[in-house]
């Protein structure tokens, strides 16, 4: 496999976007990423998306988006892995360009979620779970996470309020991200008083849905200076994908031996660490899948940043802020940047590239060299991990 570099990024703000259709939102992010790369085309287009068929009554997104951005004729396809669709699309792009099948690819994630009624969107999201044995019982996606969080509180003795730092940190970081859905600081008191959605998960444990798209352009690392002179002109640091791995687990929470352990996160992260030749201690920041505060905790544990049952301690000790030992959600995370589900995995990659290029503004992590992004499909059934590294400027 050839090594892969990310040479362009683009994103649209996560919003309730009544002005743009799914193709327009996707097109905006893709055109921005091509501009950023100094290109006008790419060999392949991979679109991460979960809900276009259900909520926009639109499939065949590969061709739709290629047509819209003027790249008719190119190889283009939609990739679906529930909320993990974005990273799943990136992995396919990496395999296509890494293998030599394609010389360049655009990988985008797009989702349009705010046009439908709440109950309809809730039902659509629940299709990530087991339709016959979970969803039929009236459990929502939030409900599944609530079942996990309730048990976590019981088993490890934490109070609900001990999870507040995850949400407070995400909101504080999103304040400085123009693309974020939410721009408001929250306090521990706000967190404690938030409206209950599915006990013990309240509104400030949960990420907001939204419309949005993010895109990256990938090429072989060896080509960056040789074939793309515009990149050399920018004096930008090369961003290399040094680890990419995906793993699966039982689809349903109830089937897992330990419903409080993300086995697929452990497995995909271990593979990605091995590919990159690093350990958790080398990771400068972690864009994790904080769809719910409990998911942030479980991810930190399964990826080796905290002992089992101890992740809330990292939050309480301030270790997850941009000045801590393992900064998370540095641009707002799912919690405050927003969670346009199939697009989320690419927003994470765009944000990681911003950090590694030194373009993260007020939430810039000093000397960031290695970033990790992890995207989760369903309640933990598909977990995809990417590690990005910045080369030193030469």
């Amino acid at each position: 496999m050839r090594q892969i570099a990310i040479i362009g990024i683009g994103q649209s703000p996560v919003t309730e976007n009544w002005d743009q259709s799914i193709r327009e939102i996707a097109g905006e992010a893709i055109i921005a990423a091509l501009h950023d790369a100094g290109l006008t085309s790419a060999d392949g287009i991979f679109i991460g998306n979960m809900l276009s068929g259900q909520l926009s009554k639109q499939e065949n997104l590969g061709a739709l988006v290629a047509d819209w951005v003027g790249l008719r004729g190119q190889d283009a396809v939609k990739v679906e892995a529930a909320c993990g669709s974005g990273a799943a699309a990136l992995r396919l792009g990496i395999m296509a360009v890494g293998s030599g099948e394609l010389e360049s690819a655009i990988v985008a994630g797009v989702e349009k979620m705010t046009e439908t009624k709440g109950a309809e969107t809730t039902s659509a999201l629940a299709t990530a779970a087991d339709a016959d044995y979970e969803v039929i019982q009236g459990v929502t996606f939030v409900g599944l996470n609530a079942l996990v969080m309730q048990r976590y509180l019981h088993e490890y003795g934490w109070r609900h309020t001990d999870f507040a730092p995850f949400s407070i940190n995400a909101h504080a970081n999103a304040l400085h991200n123009p693309a974020a859905r939410l721009h408001e600081m929250i306090t521990e008191q706000d967190y404690q008083r938030a409206r209950m959605i599915a006990e013990p998960i309240n509104l400030l444990d949960a990420s907001p849905i939204g419309d949005g798209a993010a895109a990256v352009v990938i090429v072989p690392l060896e080509d960056v200076r040789r074939k793309f002179p515009s990149q050399a002109g920018l004096k930008r640091r090369n961003i290399r994908i040094s680890g990419s791995a995906s793993a699966t687990d039982y689809l349903a929470v109830h089937s897992r031996k330990d419903p409080l352990w993300l086995a697929a996160a452990e497995r995909s992260t271990r593979q990605a660490y091995a590919q990159a030749g690093i350990t958790p201690a080398d990771v400068d920041f972690f864009e994790l899948h904080d769809a719910f505060s409990i998911m942030a905790a479980l991810s930190l544990e399964a990826c080796g940043f905290a002992e089992r049952g101890q992740a809330p301690r990292l939050g309480l000790d301030g270790e997850i802020t941009i000045h801590g030992s393992i900064p998370i959600a540095t641009r707002g995370g799912l919690k405050a940047r927003g969670h346009p589900v199939g697009a989320t995995g690419i927003y994470q990659i765009v944000e990681a590239v911003q950090q590694l290029r030194g373009e993260a503004g007020a939430t810039q992590i000093e000397n960031a060299q290695i970033g990790m992004a992890q995207n989760i499909g369903g309640s933990g059934a598909t977990i995809i991990t990417h590690i990005l590294e910045a080369d030193r400027v030469n």
Partner: protein
């Protein structure tokens, strides 16, 4: 929703029919073709007792389409006496406060009513605290 899709699952929905692995005797619910314990093929039916205890629970305040009329309602992970955990609604709770560890038993109840012109009503398992008589 499609009628055959629910009819196909009638043994599971009405009778909590799972499987026992012929190779390692692991008891499986829901049924699956390959035993997760030993990797052997598992197709031998096994009748679960319907007794268990609450492993975790939550109250759903924002229900999906088709479940609005009963909201808020309680959903649990129920650990069956035979080992597996199932996701199910709790019912007949009355004033009782559910807790992790509360013993429960299976009952058959209406799960949802489809809003289309056929108005199909889907029945299936829920669980209620042990010790309560039929309502």
């Amino acid at each position: 929703m499609e009628i055959s899709r629910h009819w196909r699952l009638r043994k599971q929905r009405y009778g909590l029919m799972g499987e026992i692995c012929p190779h390692c005797e692991a008891k499986l619910f829901p049924p699956r073709d390959i035993c997760p314990e030993c990797g052997g093929e598992a197709k031998t039916l096994y009748q679960f007792s319907g007794k268990g205890e609450v492993y975790s629970y939550t109250t759903i305040y924002e229900p999906p389409a088709g479940y609005e009329e009963n909201a808020p309602y309680t959903v649990a992970l129920v650990k069956l006496d035979e080992g597996p955990i199932v996701t199910a609604q709790l019912t007949d709770l009355g004033e009782e406060q559910v807790q992790i560890g509360t013993p429960v038993e299976m009952v058959t109840r209406r799960l949802r009513q489809d809003g289309d012109e056929r108005g199909m009503i889907i029945y299936g398992y829920k669980f209620r605290p042990v010790g309560l008589g039929p309502h």
